[in-house]
Amino acid sequence: MENKSGDMEKLYAQRLKRYVTAMRNGKPDKIPIRPFVAEFTAKYAGFTCQEVTHDYEKAFLAARRCAADFDWDAVVGNMVYVWTGLTEAIGLKYYAVPGIEISEQTGFQYREPPEEQAFMKPDEYDELIRDPTAFLFNVWLPRVSKYVTAKGEPVSYHNNLSFLKGGMAMLSYFNSFGRQNELLRKESGTVSAISGIFKAPLDIIADKLRGYLGLLTDLHERPRKVMSACEALMPHLEFIALSGADSAKNIPIGYWMHRGCVPFITMEHFNNFYWPTVKPIIEQIWSKGHQVLFYAEGSWDAHLKSFAQLPDASIVYHVDHGDIFRVKKEIGHKFCISGGIPNYLLSYGTADEIRQCCKKIIDGVARDGGYIMDASAIIQNDASIENIKVMTDYTREYGVY
């Protein structure tokens, strides 16, 4: 028993060193493997999507089973991040929940409302800007929850329960991640891949407040309001990012990048709205010793020169549809890069195709270190177990320095 726990602790230390060295753009002993496995864990562990989405203990168990069986250095404690038990208790209307609105074998879906039903109206910018927290409680939450009553309406039993249950459930869930991280460490010597969450102010306005189409209209019809709103959101988003950050400053904060890039917005809008309200936050977070993982969903290649303005090693840059070789050329000297293995390959490719892809990326991007093996995007239950094994085994064989 003692030997096993000693072995796991030794393995954990090796993996942590490997992962952190690469993230600081150094050359570790081997290429770290850090797949962002979400509903794939359900497939592997024999659970439905519904089970891992609605019962986070099953999601934790599924992640640990994968971590125990695959030679991975780091995983996210639960990449099926939206616990729908919680969202149902709060009464959130914008999710299609596996086993309720959609098939039990389909991952949860975010459903953006039609433009005219956006959760924030175009004439409400001033109220948001004046006090974002109060706006979220008084205006936004009653609109997104079927239980929460609006200001001025009679308080209901369901309203009170939404807050009570939502609050207690959220606390219970977040506190459970500590235990999950400890179990990953003890049971399989696996590092917890990220800690904390950040999103860009402009993405928040598009994703959760005005909707994407509403934001695009606002950028043309009321740009100063949009900018002021972004500036009002900035300190809060920085606070939340740091509140969940790794106290040991090893593990990066996860930054989920959505529709703030060309062609979703224009280059002018990126340069004048998106980037000026993100860059200072990243720099501030780095000044406190924390890296940020830029999970650049889609392709953000048009903005690499902007990202290159950031301090060396302040970020880890994840590649989805972007050209990973171009990314390496433009910012690889400053930042660690992760990802680049297409998800469709992991679903439908042959073993040889996967090995060839891994080899091409390792040869082109990882020779000097500063690379972490992962798929392009979150790995769901369409990925083949055998193909994930091929990616893992090949990287272990070929990705040695």
Partner: protein
Amino acid sequence: MEELKKQTTPKPGVCFPWEEKLRELSETKGDKELVKKVWEDIDTLGYIYIWHCLLSF
């Protein structure tokens, strides 16, 4: 209870500022700093709730 007018936007981490809470308390007989610290710690939990509803869920 009469709603107190907010003079300034609460800073990050704050929903119901201590200064407003203090105006509710007619007097404090014991350790006011203790009351302040615990008020602010729990107030931040409320803050975290709504911002994680926005960001994480």
